[in-house]
């Protein structure tokens, strides 16, 4: 075992799905499951199983308890439900909203209405927009999925903001994308190209390619002008989202290679 996957549940509708997804992640990352039942009123007590999964009852505010766990170096991922109730109108419950914005590592959000048979993580989608690159953390996640016999699927989304300005042949986009993936994730062989809205392209792929989860790198800001794609997916995605903080400085979409030299 190389670490812990922390599953935080509260006994609500997402509990079973959260535990199942967490168990899958343990298999992928060769990690130990640490399932916490967080209740502000409950006294810390002995382990109590839920359908065979041992649960550790922890007293305290959920955000504080999870924050305290998330910063620990042996935590591979924190898994929790995305909303308190199926069909809730808010994008996120206040706990996941706090956790994804503050956790230093991967947070996996599980839709509360995820059917039990959908909690396997056999096929992971990695969407990337334009010229963006994947971080080493993301590359490690992909590597772990593939090493465990699962499938990583790349989705390269092109739109007017991110696509190459020129394509001399209509099939050049494929060449561009192939080159992109070679640079970005050389071991991944299953690549697709999407166009138009990023969230729509991702959800199309989820539906058409039996995707079990989506890996999203983001800068942990959900306020109005940021992370529109993340906000959209949090609202609409039918599968778990693996949210990975991206601590790299944002690079221009088109890396400027122009020469330096004296002015006129």
């Amino acid at each position: 075992m190389s670490g812990r996957v922390v599953a935080a549940v509260d006994g609500g509708p997402a509990t079973r799905a959260v535990l199942d997804v967490a168990a899958e992640l343990c298999d992928i990352f060769d990690a130990e499951l640490d399932a916490l039942r967080v209740d502000e009123r409950a006294a810390p007590g002995p382990t109590s199983p839920l359908d065979g999964t041992p649960l550790r009852d922890v007293r305290g505010a959920a955000t504080a308890v999870i924050d305290e766990q998330a910063v620990r170096s042996d935590v591979v991922a924190v898994v929790l439900g995305a909303r308190t109730l199926p069909g809730a109108t808010a994008t996120l419950g206040h706990v996941p909203d706090h956790v994804i914005a503050n956790a230093p590592g991967m947070v996996v959000l599980v839709p509360p209405d995820l059917a039990p048979e959908c909690s396997t993580l056999d096929r992971l989608l990695i969407p990337v927009e334009g010229d963006a690159t994947l971080s080493s953390d993301a590359a490690a996640v992909i590597e772990a999925f593939e090493a465990s016999g699962r499938t990583a699927i790349g989705l390269h989304v092109l739109n007017p903001r991110t696509a190459p300005a020129h394509a001399d042949r209509w099939h050049d986009a494929e060449l561009w994308s192939r080159r992109f993936w070679r640079r970005c994730a050389p071991a991944m062989t299953d690549h697709h190209i999407g166009t138009g809205g990023v969230a729509d392209a991702i959800l199309d792929m989820v539906a058409s390619h039996e995707v079990d989860a989506v890996l999203l790198e983001w800068h942990q800001r959900l306020d109005h002008d940021h992370a529109a794609v993340v906000r959209d997916l949090l609202r609409r995605a039918p599968c778990p989202l693996l949210m990975l903080p991206d601590r790299r400085e944002a690079e221009p979409m088109r890396p400027w290679l122009a020469p330096r030299g004296d002015g006129p």
Binding site: A165, W170, E174, L257, A258, P259, P264
Partner: protein, 668 residues
Amino acid sequence: MAATTSITASRRVLAFADRPALAEVIEALLCISSGGFATRACSEAAVEPDRCDDVVRVGGVRHAEPPGPWVRARSWLPTVAGAAGGGWRLDVGRGVVEHDLEVGGRPLTSLRFASAAMPGTSVWTMPGAAASDTDTDVGHDEIVLDGDSRTAVVAIRRHERNGASTQIAAAGVGPDRRTASARASHAADRALAAGSAALQHAHESAWAGIWDGARIDVEGSAADEQAIGFALFHLLSLDEGSDELAVGARGLTGDAYDGHVFWDADVFVLPVLAATRPAAAAAMLAYRSGRLDEARSRAAAEGRRGARFPWESAASGCDVTPRWARSLDGARVAVTTGDLEIHIASDIAWAVLHHARWTGDPSLPDTGGVALIVETARYLADRIVLDGDARGHLYDITGPDEYHEGVDDNAFTNVMARWHLRAAADFVDDGEAARFRRLAGSLVDGFDHRTRRHEQFAGFADLDPLLIAAAAQPPVAADVILGRDLVRRSQVIKQADVVMLHHLVGDALPQGSLEADLEFYLPRTAHGSSLSPAIHASVLARAGRPDEALELLRLALHMDLADQTGTTADGLHLATMGGAWQAIVFGFLGLAVEDGPQLRVDPVLPDDWHRLRVRLQVLGRRVEVGAGHDEVTLTATSALTWTWPGAPEPVSAEALRLVGGHHRWRQG
């Protein structure tokens, strides 16, 4: 010729930061080549074991067709243990690439060049890298590139002297490995005997000579001058010193398009070489002439006379255009360019006649040029269908605007065919000449006398009148972003199509159509093709809109420097570079060879440029044109006949000064 002195050394040096994500882009940008032996800029600090596996290409050495791509081989450059890569510099003036490294805590700089003095030989050296100061040969090696019909061998010699580590690599080509190896070894040993210092001196002297006849200086914008120098460096490096020169769409700098030769070579690259390295331009035409029989066979297979050249060509001259490709959704979709872009026939004829006219070379009949013009004209003549009103049509074709495939009477194709048939009529017997002229006169061209503009093809006016700005900000790959079906149904076009006519055969078009065509087509142009911006820059300059022209010229000049296509790692866009040179020479300077022969000049400069100075070769002379906004100086190595708009009569002189401005020059 007196040297121009306005540029500083740094204007000739392009510096690039070392960024791992862009390593493959830099490999292409800093590719060095001479004598058809090309080496991409593989780093000595390469950490990925396979990174340097596809670094070397040798002109003419290809795999079997189709598709007949270049054979590529591992790098001959050393990997320096413990080295960390730093910045790169390309000094286009000296023709050298420098790379900063840190080796064991010591800053060292390597230098590499593809010798312009000994074509086919390249040198890498790093002062301070040798184990000792002794003069020692430390080994040799050989890299073999086994092609379908030719083999290349790269012989490598390693040497240490005065603390510097040096590697010399020389390419030899032959019908078999033994012959190629012997040639390569001979060249490598000769270079080794000369020593790296002497090789570098001779190389830099050779580049100084090349630049003396080809340099372009821009007062007012160091950045523009640098980008132009970058483009010219790669174009001038194309000369392989061989009888035939097949310039693939990305040259030897990468593998995109499998190294295939398109109209890019004939129409975009050849004019640059005709004015800077005329022998190389002639070798490009020899490449076409050498495949005329194959083109005749293809025409015959269609039951037609003449010769049909393929849209994509490799070693044999057979059609190697791919027949299908994957669409964005993964579906297998037919590629129709090979069947439908018959304008390649007139493109080749244009190249032959442009070369003959520009160079003043009287050897056209001896070099196979006439056969190229006539045989391609015969094929087009057979493709023309006369309707009941004796009007000639070309059906089911595709012009440069590949967003609209399989159209009828594409104006570019038809007008070029008309021009082509009339030119070919000068080289055939009277009966055939009359047929050519009759068919030329019959061809519909979509020109509307009322609007003074050409309809791009029959039915174009009925398409959705979508302007590109309503859908996306150009340049944009509109077919990728909006979808092929949408652009096909709209008036959004990929690149200069009608406008391209004004660039190539503007004198054959009705007066007033340039402005009207530009006015109509420019707002519809996505510039989805990397070929588009430079041609529009040229035509906009001719239309007296130099500031707009400069914007598009800059786009072309940074096509690779900014990796605007996302495919620079797969090779440099040489046709874009050629188009940029043409925009400067034909567009901003307004140079053209007219009957006489005489050289017409009519410069127009953008506000950002104070003065543009261009050196080139034309009509057998070296010429320098120095143009400001209100003054032009013209010098030639021997008397040349000059003319300009409004000139009372042509003037024969070695040097001339004009004053005034665009369209209103007078002798001063």
